[in-house]
């Protein structure tokens, strides 16, 4: 009997300490803090914000959420990390189906179409209209607004937006006797790679990533899909040229094109370890890559992706969207939050902290960023490159088309018997079936 009582007592004591532990442990991260504070002042409207990616990106997002929560006392935003864009989209969709979606979420720009068409997103046009004095929609850089509209309705505001840029190991180029200002064209990239190969290096390690492929198609003067989005256009000469170029360079060993899930990571590692002189990457990597270059003792410059007929890049990254099934109060809170996150001050902050594009013209022209660019020219390249930027396709079937294309391009590069034209024709045939629906 006594023993039983003792056990019960110990259990209770254990539970108390565990609970207390949870309390103090939870307040360390700001998500837990948000919940605790929300409980304390029940008048506040609490909304959830889901975001993607960790590290510097997460730091910046958490910091902005925290300052928003401190800036006013009506709303409380609880920010939750959900993995990469793919994971995030799947979770938002499942949560929406279960009636438990976050009020605000990051959304990768190419998926805006699918989400808007299926009725998951709140149209932001009336909100923007009502608040136009404060919001200044015109202030957003026009090149970034292409993916914000679906069927002429506003669904998102540019948040952490990017373009792919080229990262150069200038030290390596100088050692090889190459002009560190280049390469500016496809041909120059090939020549540079040839010289680097003689030195036992490769020009670039490059994963088959449709985002980069979109860039090379744009550089060749083509487009991914027909204007109405019902047909594939990537099997036209401008779409075949990039794959032929890649196949030629990788067959000759001038660039390395690993395939598979680790290919992207391998590209980054080869560049960091100075096996390759160049890498393509999102502008989101500027701050991180600068740290790597400093740590490994080489000089880093960023540049436009090399031109074929012209320069050209897709934009990328995410925008902030509001889900459609929240209560009116939550939507109000969500709108205030979205405005805050995309303000001039915050876009400057996230640009400096991570490297994503400043999304507003006023931010680019601000003294703060002018000074920042003067000191760190690596950050400016992506902003300048925006002149050549174009939106990503947003058709419902595009994520699936991307998959088909990745397989086709990988096959064309690995398999000597498959020509780029044949591989892309087959991919186009499959894609047309999906897009035509």
């Amino acid at each position: 009997m006594l023993k039983k009582k003792l056990t019960a007592f110990t259990l209770a004591a254990l539970m108390m300490t565990t609970l207390a532990g949870c309390g103090s442990g939870g307040s360390a991260d700001s998500a837990g803090e948000g919940k605790a504070e929300a409980a304390a002042s029940s008048k506040k409207i609490v909304i959830k914000y889901w975001y993607a990616y960790g590290d510097k990106i997460e730091e910046a997002k958490q910091h902005m959420v925290k300052t928003f929560n401190e800036s006013q006392d009506k709303y409380q935003v609880v920010a939750e990390h959900q993995g990469n864009y793919g994971d995030l989209h799947a979770k938002v969709q499942a949560a929406f189906a279960a009636g438990n979606a976050p009020a605000v979420t990051d959304l990768e720009i190419a998926s805006t179409g699918v989400f808007a068409h299926s009725g998951m997103l709140e149209e932001l046009t009336p909100y923007a209209e009502k608040d136009k004095e404060q919001l200044k929609l015109d202030d957003f850089i026009p090149g970034l607004m292409g993916n914000a509209y679906v069927d002429d309705k506003l669904y998102g505001l540019p948040f952490m937006r990017s373009t792919p840029i080229m990262y150069k190991n200038v030290t390596m180029l100088k050692n090889a006797g190459l002009d560190p200002a280049g390469p500016k064209t496809w041909d120059e990239l090939e020549e540079y790679s040839r010289v680097l190969k003689e030195k036992g290096k490769v020009g670039m390690t490059l994963p088959v990533d449709i985002w980069y492929y979109e860039a090379l198609v744009a550089q060749s003067g083509g487009q991914m899909l027909s204007d109405d989005g019902k047909k594939a256009a990537f099997n036209e000469p401008a779409g075949v040229a990039p794959v032929e170029y890649w196949k030629k360079l990788s067959t000759e060993g001038l660039i390395k094109m690993p395939v598979g899930d680790e290919a992207g990571a391998t590209a980054g590692k080869d560049w960091a370890n100075q096996i390759s002189a160049f890498k393509f990457g999102s502008t989101a990597g500027v701050a991180g890559s600068l740290e790597i270059a400093n740590g490994n003792g080489f000089e880093l410059q960023t540049a436009f992706m090399p031109a074929n007929k012209d320069y050209g890049v897709p934009t990328g990254g995410c925008q902030l969207v509001m889900t459609s099934k929240s209560t009116p109060e939550e939507k109000k809170a969500a709108w205030e939050f979205i405005k805050w996150m995309t303000s001039k001050e915050n876009t400057i902050y996230q640009h400096k902290h991570v490297g994503y594009l400043p999304t507003r013209t006023s931010a680019v022209e601000s003294d703060e960023l002018k000074e920042h660019f003067a000191q760190n020219p690596q950050f400016k390249v992506a902003v300048d490159q925006l002149e050549y930027a174009r939106p990503r396709p947003m058709e419902n079937a595009y994520p699936e088309v991307e998959n088909i294309l990745t397989d086709a391009i990988q096959k064309a590069i690995i398999d000597p018997k498959t020509t780029p034209q044949d591989a892309l024709n087959q991919a186009a045939e499959k894609a047309n079936k999906l897009l035509g629906k």
């Binding site: 699918v114 899930d261 699936e400 397989d407």
Partner: protein
């Protein structure tokens, strides 16, 4: 007799029945229902398409490759894993301290999360920075591409699965070996039976229930392989490691085609169902039980 007396047994089994219905029976029927619609999970309307999803699936070359991949993966994993485990079990079935350590060592992957295992092997098999290629390089052989080439990616995944599964299979085999009564062996040795004959005529038949159990359980498990693929290859390169469950996940949660994914799910249900029936049939007929 009160009402309670009549209700009592039902209330006792109710928790199990409810859990079973909600988490097993209902999802199966809902999946079969969804497989006849074109739906993206969230839009308010579901379009009825009848058997169109199945027609699409079965005429899609990619899906045929997925089925081939899954079958190849299953055959290789099951043969290698059970074969190797049987050899190990015969070797380890002695019960000294040393053999206990070895048995513990090969069993340990079984208790590690598949996610950790996948991450570990991703690094081991990295073509540039991995340990395996480094070792191969030391011996002067050409580096393998492992997961990064369509020719080697599937077999690389099989290696991981065998490494993970062999410990458990060995354990079950050893248990099976030890349940064979010693007197039969004594009789055999009195008859001067050679070791090979003893193994074929005595050990194998006595072990057959265990073998069939492991083969079927491993087959069902292999048909449902997902974690290693999601983490290590995402079905690539060039669709060479895409298997049934990953395909279902991809269509359901990346392309949001829940009807199409459900149709693939029905096919998986069908395959696993057949395997299970075979299992019970074989168990009741062919397999030797004392």
């Amino acid at each position: 007799m009160t009402v309670w007396h009549k209700l009592r047994p039902y209330s006792m089994v109710a928790p199990a029945i409810i859990v079973f219905s909600v988490f097993f029976i209902y999802p199966i029927f809902y999946m079969i229902y969804l497989s006849m619609f074109d739906w993206n999970f969230v839009s308010p309307t579901k379009d009825f398409v009848g058997i169109q999803n199945f027609v699409d699936l079965l005429t899609e070359p990619e899906f045929r490759q997925v089925l081939t991949n899954t079958t190849m993966y299953t055959i290789l994993t099951v043969t290698l894993s059970t074969g190797l485990s049987l050899l190990l079990a015969l070797w380890l079935n002695r019960g000294s301290f040393f053999y206990g350590i070895v048995q513990g060592a090969i069993f340990s992957p079984h208790i590690i999360s598949l996610v950790s295992i996948s991450l570990l092997w991703s690094w081991l098999m990295d073509p540039e920075y991995g340990l395996l290629n480094w070792v191969i390089g030391l011996f002067g052989f050409e580096k393998l591409q492992w997961l990064s080439h369509p020719d080697t990616s599937l077999i690389s995944l099989v290696i991981v699965a065998v490494w993970k599964g062999v410990g458990y299979n060995t354990l079950v085999f050893i248990a099976g070996l030890q349940s064979i009564p010693a007197d039969i062996y004594e009789a055999a040795s009195l008859d001067r039976s050679r070791p090979w004959t003893t193994f074929i005529k005595l050990t194998m038949p006595m072990l057959s229930p265990t073998i069939f159990f492991l083969v079927i359980i491993n087959m069902i498990g292999s048909f449902q392989v997902f974690e290693t693929i999601a983490i290590m290859t995402q079905g690539g390169p060039v669709n060479s490691t895409n298997t049934l469950v990953y395909y279902i996940y991809e269509y359901g949660f990346r392309f949001f085609k829940i009807g199409y994914a459900s149709a693939a799910g029905v096919i998986l249900l069908f395959i696993v169902g057949i395997l299970t029936i075979i299992y019970f049939k074989l168990l009741s007929n062919r397999v030797h039980y004392r």
